[in-house]
Amino acid sequence: MQTALVQESALSFRAVSKRFGSRMAVDRLDLEVGRGEVFGFLGPNGAGKTTTMRMALGLIKPTSGCVEVLGRDVQLEGRRVLPHVGPLVETPALYPHLSGRTNLRIFGAELGRVSAARIESLLELTALDERQDDRVSSYSLGMRQRLGLAVALLHDPELLILDEPANGLDPAGIREIRALLRQLRDQGKTVFLSSHVLGEVGRVCDRVAILRQGALVYSGRVDALLSEAGYFEVKVAEVDSALAWIREQAWGRSARLDKDGTIVSPSPSGRGRELNSTLSAAGFIPDAIGPRQRDLEAVFLELTEGRP
């Protein structure tokens, strides 16, 4: 498990546990989300992601430990700090018998400082301006999701806590959300999002945390998670003999064959250049050599289900 030191935290979990009866939903979670970063929170269904997010929003009290939002204990100072947080927890919570615009007006009125112009701009941003006067009950899941996001953004929050924001969106909608998240990051906002669309997480998040059965199994940079340090992918014509030759070398005993016929091998010096020259000298001219990059889905499954 890799953890990065974060200088200034927007969100931090300190030994946080939550127990529901005999079931431990979250187990001694330690996590830091730095200000201004887009942080991905991954885990299979039932891993404790939503419980963790609810604890960050003060909706659920931790059994033990402490959750700090923007530097303050959310249980003790929630009323002071939560107005700076934009939440989207699970399915968007909306009034289905009211229009999209009226929903924004009602939630805006509860916050007390949202202008009509802000509502207009959010309807435009979430591409709901054409259906703003229709009842939410007639909206598709994707439209509801976008309206839920608009509700979360109403008061221009410093920190966004988004549970599956891409849920129910079509590819175009997912791309729009991705662009929106990048735009928010550029504005200096902190985004803590959970998602099961792993490709999206890889594209927009700086760092990720992976939860399995309530316990943290990884926290760190996405590129560090995906790269298999010191390993290279080698494409060569004589796969079997090349692999056998590499394995005979002292530096190459851990080399293996990937499913697609690519050799995954270390290098004598840790650099691809030496691997290329060594193989060429042995008579195996590589067609291509590149650093080994793992698929996020494979890493996710490996960490959450123990698959190789």
Binding site: L59, I60, R79, V85, P87, P96
Partner: protein, 275 residues
């Protein structure tokens, strides 16, 4: 706005107005309501009051219990409570805001209902007597009793609001909240009827006292106590067996409301929001 845009709200209002209109028509045909005869002016008013007060207790009670249950329960059923609380709204603050909104609603209903009753009465008097003289020349005590009847209606409406809001907060859903709060008064009235029957067949026991501690029967008996036994009692509804004094009955009502409020506020403050 959340309630105004819901069809059941308007259906209840329209049904309520139609039923009141029907009651006024039936009262116009009632021989006990005769504003044309000077000697029956006051008794006609009391007869009218008896009916409209009974209608308010049953009808407005039902409207307030279902509406306030929806007002609170919808936040749980739609999950919007998590958006509201996750924005830093205090739980007690939210509970009190809901209670205040529901009380305003009750006040509006009370004012609207009595304005309609006043209008219907004026039309009835004009129809029977040709002028409003039977109302303008009523003895002062009748107006005092009218004010007392209005006060008992206000207490009854306030109690329904507290019952509706607190039970929905405890139930955490529209369906559960509405079901339990609508059944609350029929159950304690039914319990009172059972206790009365036991008392009549002279089965000794503590129910003689229990009856006086029930909320519904105490509210039913309140008009009689407030008007010192005049003819404005909602006599068709079950009352406590022993009949506490006015102060004691009010204390019972207040205790019920405070207990329910504390229970709901405590539950909202302590429980996790999983909606």
């Amino acid at each position: 706005m959340k309630l105004r845009r819901q069809r059941p709200t308007w259906v209840l209002v329209v049904v309520g107005v139609l039923l009141l209109g029907l009651a006024m028509l039936l009262l116009a045909a009632d021989p006990a309501v005769a504003f044309a005869r000077h000697s029956l002016w006051a008794s006609s008013v009391y007869q009218l009051l008896l009916v409209v007060q009974l209608m308010f207790a049953a009808g407005a009670g039902l409207i307030l219990l279902t509406t306030t249950s929806r007002l609170v329960g919808m936040e749980y059923s739609f999950g919007t409570i998590r958006v509201i609380l996750a924005r830093g709204t205090g739980r007690i603050q939210l509970f009190l805001a809901k209670l205040a909104s529901a009380l305003v609603l009750a006040l509006m209903l009370l004012i609207g209902y009595w304005l309609l009753v006043a209008l219907g009465t004026a039309i009835l008097v004009l129809h029977q007597a040709g002028s409003l003289t039977p109302l303008t020349e009523l003895p002062g005590v009748v107006w005092v009793n009218l004010g007392q009847a209005l006060l008992s209606c206000a207490i009854s409406a306030g109690s329904c609001v507290v019952v509706g809001v607190t039970i929905s907060t405890l139930a955490r859903s529209v369906t559960g909240g509405m079901l339990v709060s609508v059944l609350f008064f029929p159950i304690d009235n039914a319990l009172d009827l059972i206790l009365i029957q036991l008392h009549r067949i002279a089965v000794p026991g503590p129910w003689v006292w229990v009856s006086d501690f029930l909320l519904g029967p105490s509210l039913n008996h309140l008009p009689t106590l407030l008007t010192s036994g005049r003819e404005v009692s909602a006599g068709a509804l079950p009352a406590p067996i022993l009949h506490f004094s006015l102060a004691a009955t009010l204390l019972v009502v207040v205790c019920w409301l405070v207990t329910l409020t504390l229970l709901a506020a405590l539950a909202l403050a302590r429980r996790d929001v999983l909606a």
